[in-house]
């Protein structure tokens, strides 16, 4: 039995062994509740404080600007629903390619008197300037545009979008879950440009599942999603998940440390991957735009994505046919639809997302397997090279 | 809650704990605070004929900082005249014991205890 090759790092990442080592004590002898005043509790509190510093340092924020949550979904919900609670219903504008945990809360607001505007994207997956200006002209209250898309990896120019939103009087938020750890994120600079809050997740950067954060300008007023006890400055109650928070902090430290190296390594690997894909006649989505260095989203003519990823899995390569969270949904990706990709091609979409631990052999092996699989699916005898 | 070394020292080894006999010459008592608030301080001073505080004793129901504050003032008032004792300010107590902001009320209570004891003394000696 050979170990399958994991090429789905945008869904979740394996934990960095160093992160696990930091977490272990907090799953055994260091078990205190951080609200307790005895030594067990105080030790937990110190560990959380340290992790808060590490997270803050990784994104150029101050530790008091970090609100720990159970993950990225909660942080996005906290911003959309929590900020909306402070305003009279108005317009909430989100890009058409947002993750469901931004889109669904925005839709929920729309059921309670708000108006939802979906900001359109162009064929390469970038927010359309004209559409953005038109939406801003309507004076939205809240605007959320993701820093990097989870399916295509396409980056949005948040630093230019935010000042325009601020001029229009809107509170701007960016979901940086996918961007974090893959490209530099500087909250201080973004905040100066008009970004009030951004969302992070631990398990996308070699940390554990179960921890995330909303990094926020303290002038931003938020109604908590979860009340009871007043943890996290009253913005998020509930006993802190010390082990996961410690892991998140450690993951941030290591992610920041290796950012430059991974960025180059991954884009080299991705380059090789995409060369191979193009030679097979693949269509690469969003490749004309600036993208995360690790993500390739492609479609092969007359090949169904679901079927293909199933075959690839059996052959030992773990990739995705859509966003992990919505992959139970047989509908073609809403991201590709927003980009105007025709449904036939969209149904063929396969996402490869590289990460720490992937190497040349993985990529070459993947390409070879893909060629064989496609040949098989086309009903031809595989050509053995 | 992390306590300063000095608070811990006074808490572990409180100075001048106890009470004077009620009828003893020159003894005055100041009792401040309330059980409902979580602090009650009893400060007693023994004043000599020359108006100098010869001795002081305390009992305190309260947190470690309250105990330390009252223990400290028993040391500080000794050898002072009653008027000099009144010059002791809560800020000096708080500074000496490095009290955190949430414990400042303990030092205020200690200052109040001095005032109450001196007032009691003056009341007894002007009659």
């Amino acid at each position: 039995m050979f170990a399958p090759v994991y090429l789905d790092h945008n869904a979740t990442t394996p934990i960095d062994p160093r992160v696990l080592e930091r977490m272990r004590p907090w799953l055994s002898e260091q078990f205190g509740n951080a609200s307790s005043r005895h030594e067990y509790g105080r030790a937990a509190r110190r560990a959380i404080d340290e992790a808060r510093e590490q997270v803050a340092a990784a994104v150029g924020a101050h530790s008091t600007e970090i609100v720990f949550t159970s993950g990225g979904s909660e942080a996005n919900n906290l911003f959309i629903k929590g900020a909306a609670a402070w305003y009279r219903p108005g317009i909430v504008a989100v890009s058409a390619i947002e993750h469901p945990c931004v889109m669904r809360p925005a839709e929920q607001l729309a059921r309670h008197g708000w108006t939802l505007r979906r900001i359109g994207v162009g064929a390469e997956g970038r927010v359309q300037a004209g559409d953005y200006s038109a939406v801003l002209a309507e004076k939205p209250v809240l605007v959320s545009v993701m820093a990097a898309n989870n399916e295509t990896g396409v980056l949005q120019d948040v630093a230019s979008l935010a000042p325009e939103a601020r001029k229009a009087g809107a509170v701007f938020h960016t979901d940086a879950v996918q961007a974090f750890g893959k490209i530099p994120i500087d909250f201080r600079a973004l905040n100066a440009a008009g970004v009030y809050a951004l969302t992070l997740s631990a398990h996308k950067i070699g940390g554990p599942k179960g921890a995330g954060a909303l990094v926020m300008d303290k002038r931003l007023e938020l109604e908590p999603l979860i009340a009871g006890g007043g943890h996290e400055r009253g913005l998020r109650s509930g006993t802190e998940n010390v082990a996961a928070i410690v892991g998140f902090g450690a993951a941030c430290e290591f992610a920041a440390e290796r950012l430059a190296v991974t960025q180059r390594q991954l884009s080299d690997l991705r380059g090789a991957l995409e060369d191979g894909l193009l030679r097979m006649g693949a269509m690469l989505f969003g490749s004309g735009a600036l993208r995360l260095p690790n993500t390739t989203y492609f479609s092969l003519p007359n090949i169904d994505g679901e079927t293909l990823v199933g075959q690839l899995d059996r052959a030992g390569y773990a990739v995705a046919s859509g966003a992990a969270c919505s992959s139970a949904n047989p509908e073609p990706s809403h991201v590709l639809r927003a980009m105007g990709i025709e449904p036939g091609l969209a149904r063929g979409a396969v996402r490869v997302s590289l990460g720490a631990g992937n190497n040349d052999k993985h990529v070459q092996g993947f390409l070879d397997t893909l060629r064989e699989t496609v040949a098989k699916l086309h009903g031809m005898t595989a050509l053995v090279a | 809650m992390a306590y300063s070394e000095k608070v811990l020292d006074h808490y572990e080894n409180p100075r001048n704990v106890g009470s004077f006999g009620k009828e003893e010459e020159g003894v005055a008592t100041g009792m401040v605070g309330a059980p409902a608030c979580g602090d009650v301080m009893k400060l007693q001073i023994k004043v000599g004929k020359d108006g100098v505080i010869e001795d002081a004793k305390f009992k305190t129901y309260g947190c470690g900082s309250a105990i330390a504050s009252s223990s400290l003032v028993t040391e500080w008032v000794k050898g002072k005249t009653i008027d000099q004792a009144l010059e002791i300010k809560n800020t000096q107590i708080a500074e000496e014991l490095a009290l955190p902001p949430v414990k400042i009320h303990c030092s205020i209570l200690a200052e109040d205890a001095i005032k109450a004891a001196v007032a009691d003394y003056k009341k007894k000696h002007t009659e």
Partner: protein, 403 residues
Amino acid sequence: MLKLPIYLDYSATTPVDPRVAEKMIPYLVEKFGNPASRSHAFGWEAEAAVEEAREEVARLVNADPKEIVWTSGATESDNLAIKGAVHFYSSKGKHVITVKTEHKAVLDTCRELERQGFEVTYLDVQENGLIDLDTFKAALRHDTILVSVMFVNNEIGVIQPIEEIGEICREKGIIFHVDAAQATGKVDIDLGKLKVDLMSFSAHKTYGPKGIGALYVRRKPRVRLESQMHGGGHERGFRSGTLPTHQIVGMGEAFRIAREEMAVENKRIGALRDRLLKGLSDIDHVFVNGDLEHRIPHNLNVSFAYVEGESMLMAIKDLAVSSGSACTSASLEPSYVLRALGRDDELAHSSIRFTLGRFNTEEEVDYAIKLLREKIGKLRELSPLWEMVQEGVDLNTVQWAAH
């Protein structure tokens, strides 16, 4: 050799049982898949583990696994249950009943509902901490849509009459939510019998990890909720967000151990608690807070009159205990739970909560008794209140100079 400080604060949180930690680790290492990934074995493996854990949680409380929704903990479960149900059923009424001694997760959520225009009755409890059923019945209104009562109180450990309250609620068609964070592994919970519609669980109070909990949502008769966290539609739309597989696996294992061992364990812990109580009972002016009979065997909450709680904690720093609940102990307010029992503020300020658990020993309890006896004596020597009482002064007649 005793390891100090001795942990006697199992209601604040419990250590992760080593068996639980062992089961969790592989899901942090090689089995790291996202349970929502449907396209590869990493995802399926994680999903299978999540479903196995769901069965374990359901088995402890005799529920159907389909009735278990994962959350980040009991606080989130309480928020989801109360806000989710009240918002869903708001067309049927606007009145909610809860109890003054509930956890903040319930009370703060109810306060939020009040700000939104709902009306909340906060029931008084009797001196023993238990709800009086007649008082409860009298509080019911035609527009009552939800009742929320905790199974076991976190500070005093008393067990509320959940079965009786459930019967009344079901008869009147009112949704009944129970916060069982402190109950799992300590009292038998049979959701096949109890007429409870929603029940909150926490892993870290039952030797599982922090950051994971669950909400039981009854299917027959079906209870509906408005989701509080929206997104990828995880947990059948009740709660979105990537499932933390390792934590879920930990909760499942913790609940399995609880089911298999609670009968024996509770006897042992009860004997330790009784030993502690016996060791303190001949000290003057020591009061047990809350009913001793309708109470989990793990809890002993005592007021040492005329000794202030925080100085007591300092004196017994070799014991990790709490005064008031862990969530509120950063404030100087006396415990609102003890106040609700009608304890005066002085006794509320003087209370210490001992909660025993799986890893306590007789030797530890004996050490605790010895230390407590010594320190109470010392602090009472320091206490002007104790002195006055010894002199025969009735403290209630004293005019205190409020500050």
